[in-house]
Amino acid sequence: MAETQKSSINPALALVAAAAGWFVPGLGHALLGKWGKAMVYFFAVALLAVVGLRMRGNVFSSNAADAFDMLGFFADIGNGIFYFLAGAINPAGANVAIAAGDYGTRLFATAGVLNFLCVLELLQIGFGSREERRTAA
């Protein structure tokens, strides 16, 4: 019975949760009552994003110069609110002339991709097969 309840999440709610989870990491899982996962995902994404930005990592914008910049933008936009607050978190801006800035760029991109994985898990809960939903939930 518990398994059935776990798997019966409204797909519309899963979509809303996925959007919320993208904007604020962990919020989508919190909306579905998965507080443990919500806290862990927020902690992991926030840690990587804030440290990456404070190390003066680069944040890619949508007007990319080449394909790699565009790839970087897609990774970075996964950070949701941290992407939009990047200027406030690191007012000094990016400095990739030093190794730490380069590492910061990777940490910030990793945070974004990690958050996309969490969003995919939410979509799997809403739209996946019964077995996939059971595993994700």
């Binding site: 443990g36 996962k37 902690f43 994404v45 840690l47 940490l107 945070a111 990690l114 994985l117 969490c118």
Partner: protein, 58 residues
């Protein structure tokens, strides 16, 4: 923020192994085992590759 290269690697390993454990495992004991294993694997592999490539750095 001044973070050494090793510290940034530890932060990376910690966050990624924790998130992967929760993404891929259902039970708490499995998650703990996976997170510890992945965290140590990240560190051991990175330090190992660092030592292996050290002779070519100069």
């Amino acid at each position: 923020m001044i973070v050494t290269h090793f510290q940034s690697m530890v932060i990376f390993a910690l966050a990624v192994s924790l998130a992967f454990a929760y993404l891929s495992k259902e039970k708490m004991d499995e998650r703990v085992r996976y997170a510890v294993w992945a965290f140590l694997a990240f560190l051991v592999v990175a330090i190992g590759i660092g030592w292996l490539t050290y002779p070519f750095s100069r």
